[in-house]
């Protein structure tokens, strides 16, 4: 299988007033094309830092990162990022928010009508065509997150990076959006790296779950091959032995091997 994303002995050190803070050390991770990988770990373990490194928002202090055999030198539209708090610009409508991304990626080669068509298609993908002309404060949290996903997908990125995309949503909306995401990703054949702290979300959506040890100096503790056939049905899986085994091994990692001292 093609190694699409390669993270090789990456370390990340932040300079703080109290001296250097080593957030990540010795991270080795490869992701195949079309694979869905989750990063899970306790809060503060540096999983978002790792995602930001892949996004290019941070530069690693050690090691190398390659996407499709090219060094990741900074942020770029080949990686679509969905932020935890959606990060839509409040002064632009949903349509305009997506248009900003589409225009950047395809503006040079395509006509206005083609660009608008792309935006409409992205909105349609997340079923938000009726909300196109609404401003972010006029729609619900779940809808905002869907616009965020649509914005990321509209750029046709090589890779989709999701930073706790459903963390701020209620359980019902979250389940619904997870199912939507799976369908969208399957249809687009996207390669996905998702940060989450939700065990069910990780197991249900991923091909592999990458479990991270507690920080500081966090690294990859274990990697779980989920191996459940797709499409997956959350109801059918609820009593599935393989699903429960996966779930248990992640829970064991988080709550036995990496139990945080009571804060």
């Amino acid at each position: 299988m093609e190694k699409f994303l390669r993270v090789e002995s990456v370390g990340m050190k932040f300079e703080t007033k109290k001296g250097d803070f080593v957030a990540l050390t010795g991270i080795d991770l490869t992701i195949r094309k079309g694979e869905f990988v989750s990063l899970i770990g306790h809060s503060g373990c540096g999983k978002s830092t790792l995602l930001n490194l892949v996004a290019g928002l941070l530069r690693p202090t050690e090691g190398a990162m390659l996407l499709a055999e090219r060094e990741i030198a900074g942020p770029g539209p080949d990686r679509g990022v969905v932020f935890q708090n959606h990060s839509l610009l409040p002064w632009l409508t949903c349509f305009e928010n997506i248009h900003l991304a589409v225009e950047r990626v395809f503006g040079a080669g395509e006509s206005k009508a083609q660009l608008n068509e792309r935006v409409s298609r992205a909105l349609d993908l997340v079923h938000l065509t009726p909300a196109a002309q609404k401003y972010p404060h006029e729609i619900s949290g779940g809808m905002k997150q869907r616009v965020g996903i649509a914005r990321a997908l509209s750029m046709e990125p090589k890779m989709l990076l999701l930073d706790e995309p459903f963390g701020a949503l209620d359980a019902l909306t979250r389940a619904h959006l997870q199912d939507e995401l799976v369908k969208i990703v399957a249809a687009a054949g996207s390669t996905v790296l998702m940060v989450t702290h939700d065990v069910d979300e990780a197991v249900l959506l991923s091909d592999r779950v990458v479990m991270m040890t507690n920080g500081p100096a966090a690294t990859i503790g274990e990697v779980l091959e989920v191996g459940l056939p797709r499409p997956r049905n959350r109801l059918a899986l609820a009593n599935d032995a393989r699903y429960m085994a996966c779930r248990r091994s992640v829970l064991e990692f988080l709550y036995q091997k990496q139990l945080k001292e009571a804060a």
Binding site: L57, L89, W91, L100
Partner: protein, 306 residues
């Protein structure tokens, strides 16, 4: 693929149980409740009910009362001090003045309308120049740490200086009263504009800048789509503070420079010992200041995105 059931009533249909058949085990209790509720309902319709005046009426009354109290105090003061004209005299003078606000009898005797307009013009020019200089400067200071450190001591020292202290310099440089007054307005409007714009630039959430970086937007797009809209509310606050200060300062500046203007008019009427006109001027200055503030608040509302 269906949308999320956002409508509450889709999940919780309105209860129609009250009218369900008595065969339902819970029905009798519910019917009992419904009957009680039905028996209560007309009582609330015909019995005692507290009638409360609408809120706007109460606050309008309170405002009227406040003004009336103020006028009463004024009346009392004028009774004990003969040099202060009473409200009736001032009212009569006001009618005379405002019935012909735009007369012109030579350079030193013009209607109150001209005086107010001249003052507003000075404020407008001085303030407009300050915006032209202050807002870009504020952006630069907010965006670059080095410039911010450069500007910090200058702004810190010059901001607390009374704008009128700049007047002699203005007179010296421009050798005329009118540009000197405009220059004073410029100086006093400049600081709030720089400081607020800079604060606005620094307050831009990192999330928005991350969006800009992830999308790899051009500098121009970053400015027009992210920086400018994000800073706009702060900028308008700066503009609002500046206009307020400018309107305070223009009166004092005109007292010193003379010419035509509401401040000069106050001083002129003091020399004529027409105290009722001074009181009219005070109220006029207040009303114009209030109007300026109102326009700015409306502007701020128009451009706030939350």
């Amino acid at each position: 693929m269906s949308a999320i059931p956002l409508r509450k009533d889709a999940l919780f249909p309105t209860p129609v149980l009250v009218h369900s058949s008595p065969a339902h085990p819970a029905a009798p209790v519910i019917e009992e409740r419904a009957r009680k509720a039905a028996a209560k309902a007309p009582a609330t319709g015909t019995g005692y009910r507290r009638v409360r005046a609408p809120e706007w009426l109460v606050s309008a009354l309170a405002m009227a009362l406040g003004i009336a109290a103020c006028v009463a105090v004024w009346e009392m003061v004028s009774k004990f001090n003969a040099s202060i004209p009473n409200p009736a005299v001032v009212g009569k003078a006001a009618i005379a003045i405002f019935s012909d606000p735009f007369y012109r009898k030579g350079p030193n005797d013009q209607g109150i309308g001209w005086n107010v307009l001249m003052s507003l013009q000075r404020v407008g020019i001085g303030f407009g120049l300050a915006a032209l200089v202050g807002i870009p400067l504020g952006f630069a200071v907010g965006r670059f740490r080095f410039l911010s450190d450069m500007a910090a001591p200058i702004i810190a020292i010059l901001k607390p200086v009374s704008p009128l202290a700049w007047l002699p310099i203005g007179l010296l440089v421009f050798k005329a009263a009118n540009p000197a007054a405009i220059y004073v307005i410029f100086v006093c409007s400049l600081w709030p504009m720089i400081v607020n714009t800079a604060v606005g630039v620094r307050q831009i959430p990192q999330d928005y800048l991350n969006v800009a970086r992830v999308l790899n937007l051009s500098e121009w797009k970053v400015f027009t789509k992210i920086l400018f809209p994000a800073v706009l509310p702060y900028m308008i606050t700066g503009v609002r503070l500046s206009v307020g200060v400018a309107w305070l300062v223009i009166v004092a500046a005109e007292m010193l420079t003379g010419g035509v203007g509401i401040g000069f008019w106050v001083w002129d009427e003091w020399n004529n010992l027409k105290v009722e006109h001074i009181i009219i001027a005070i109220i006029t200055i207040g009303v114009v200041g209030l109007a300026l503030e109102y326009v700015m608040v409306m502007l701020a509302k128009r451009f706030s995105y939350n």
